[in-house]
Amino acid sequence: MAEHALSSPVHPSSHARNALQRFLSATEVDTRLLGMIGALAIIWVGFNIFSGGLFLTPRNLWNLSVQTASVAVMVTGMVLVIVTRNIDLSVGSILGLVGMVMGVMQTSFFPVQLGLGLGHPLIWVLSLAVGLAVGTGIGALQGVIIAYLRVPAFIVTLGGYLVWRGAAWWVTAGRTVAPMDSTFQLMGGGPGGSVGAFWSWVVGILACVAIVVGLLLGRRQRQRFKFPQRPVWAEVVLGVLGCGATIGAVLIANAYPWPTRIAANFAEANGLDVPEGGLFISHGIAIPVLMAIGVGVVMTFLATRTRFGRYVYAMGGNPEAAELAGINTRWVTVKIFMLMGALCAIAAAISTARLNAATNALGTLDELYVIAAAVIGGTSLAGGVGTIAGALLGAVVMQSLQSGMVLMGLDSPLQSIVVGIVLVFAVWLDTLYRRNKY
């Protein structure tokens, strides 16, 4: 009997009472994440109805994805910061400063001072590298002060909020830097900064393959250690849902065409015939969106599959226990802030490229949006709890609210009021959820 139980362990879903419970238990999906997806669906459908069908259009959804990218990149780092019971109020200012630095690098330092000439193909990557170095350096400095000098993160980054914003002004004495290098601009999206229909399909299909392979590998791993298996139908449902969502996203991105004039110019430049009713050239997925997705994947990997990530969550739950377990908690803290700084630099690249300029005010209020997105996405300010995927969804929810209200023609003061209320409401719901769970 016991032998038998060991060799074919039973999955907990076989004990579930009703269909919904069985489904949730069998697929092992996070109910909280599912709830957020549900909330997002309600928001989308609601806005679509109230805006007279303007919200759920390829054009709006594509724009939404591009507008979310910068905050989405930063929120993946903010999750780790908040999980370890810290906070970073300086991300918007770091974005501003790094944006300025990268602007100066690509408009004057590399092309003029170093004599590469404007439009040199290496300029974008060199500028980005300098930006990453500056962002990481700022994060390291703040992290060292927090971890080793024991100044609370709230204070250090509040100071940073002022310091880096001031420093951004110093870079050019307040002058706006524009236009950006033409390759660098691609990181901002737009017709040129999107990968087009073909490459969108390539990305989508690769993602589907990754989903299926991931499920299969997970299954094999469980087999190897004789852990309970998910029922096969649950695996199939997960695979179909994952691939379906991916393909849906690609279809939407491909359904949004270039503006007719840009398409016409393109056709003329390439000697193409323009058919009746204009040339249909798909945007496809925008490059900043791909960057954000890439960052999300890498950060999820860091958070769940590496020692670093494990330590982040252990520290957040009980810093003393983590220290006593022999974890170098101070160094982990420094690494988290370095990572946050680097992500600010990536976000700065996206923002400046999208605006095609580096301005003094770039990133203003971003710290609040990033923190709000993380919290709406289920990151607990008490520490120890939060996922990258949840926070990314949180960023999409925030941006959906804003875009939706713009579409409905709400005044910007009213928009702030709504976002503020939603933030508090979301956290209250989350508190209820957690209280019921434990």
Partner: protein, 260 residues
């Protein structure tokens, strides 16, 4: 007999102060291979503080630590683990929001050839170790904050014995446990002792310790009152050491002993 070999641990004249309070004052203590030393004293006597110096949680102000007769440098918990010192802390030091396997391997995770966490292997090993320690334990997937006090304690103990400790410190290990679990811990201590592990067993209650220990060391107000082999003294005499600081004939007085 035991006492003639080189001690596994020798802590000599250890002192530490917090602000004005001398939590530990010139305390000396030794531990041999395969020996269980009961460290006794009232709450606030300085027991936890003394052993936290050995486990690297605190840095001593003065005093020496020798491991296997050689001076040891212990500045943090990592250093202590390097000497094979494992600790089960009084305030259950478990990471609340990760699961049992993650706790067992915290700081010493198993990784795949690619350097990523090998969660399946860790869970498998965790199931094996926990199965020996607490066969009823099933909740491997949940964060340990969802577990009962006894279950959390078995996680803490499993972590301490997982990595072939040579020196085990157990600070009030049964405080949160019921009678059956307490008996299990007692059996475990005997088993570990027979494997040659040296164990510091700390308690404010003599009954938890007396039958398991080879030797007892009694502390009061940060000082060592005295030490004795459990065969040379009675429970009542040890109680007298704990409460009054009075050292019976069968015991060796320490700096904290009162002399009549």
């Amino acid at each position: 007999m035991l006492d003639t070999s080189t001690p596994l641990v020798e802590m000599t004249d250890i002192s530490i102060s917090f602000g004005g309070i001398r939590a530990v004052d010139q305390a000396s203590i030794t531990l041999h291979k395969g020996e269980v030393v009961g460290l006794l004293g009232h709450n606030g006597a300085g027991k936890s503080t003394l052993i936290k110096i050995l486990s690297g949680a605190y840095k001593r102000d003065t005093g020496d630590i020798r491991i296997d007769g050689a001076p040891a440098t212990i500045n943090n918990p990592r250093d202590a683990k390097g000497y094979g010192i494992e600790t089960i802390y009084q305030q259950l030091a478990v990471a609340d929001n990760v699961d049992a396997a993650a706790n067992l391997f915290l700081g010493r995770e198993m990784v795949t050839p690619l350097g990523t966490l090998d969660d399946a292997a860790m869970e498998s090993k965790a199931r094996e170790v926990m199965g020996r320690l607490n066969p009823n334990f099933r909740r491997f997937k949940e964060p340990v904050k969802a577990l009962s006090g006894g279950q959390r304690q078995s996680v803490a103990i499993a972590r301490a014995i997982l990595f072939n400790a040579r020196i085990l410190i157990m600070d009030e290990p049964t405080a949160a446990l019921g009678p059956q679990e307490t008996a299990q811990v007692g059996d475990l201590i005997k088993q570990l002792k027979s494997e040659g592990i040296g164990i510091f067993l700390i308690s404010h209650d003599i009954h938890d310790v007396f039958d398991l220990a080879d030797r007892v060391v009694v502390m009061k107000n940060g000082q060592v009152v005295g030490e004795a082999k459990t065969t040379d003294v009675t429970k009542d005499e040890v109680l007298g050491m704990i409460i009054l600081g009075k050292v019976p004939p069968g015991a060796t007085p320490g700096p904290g002993a009162i002399r009549e």
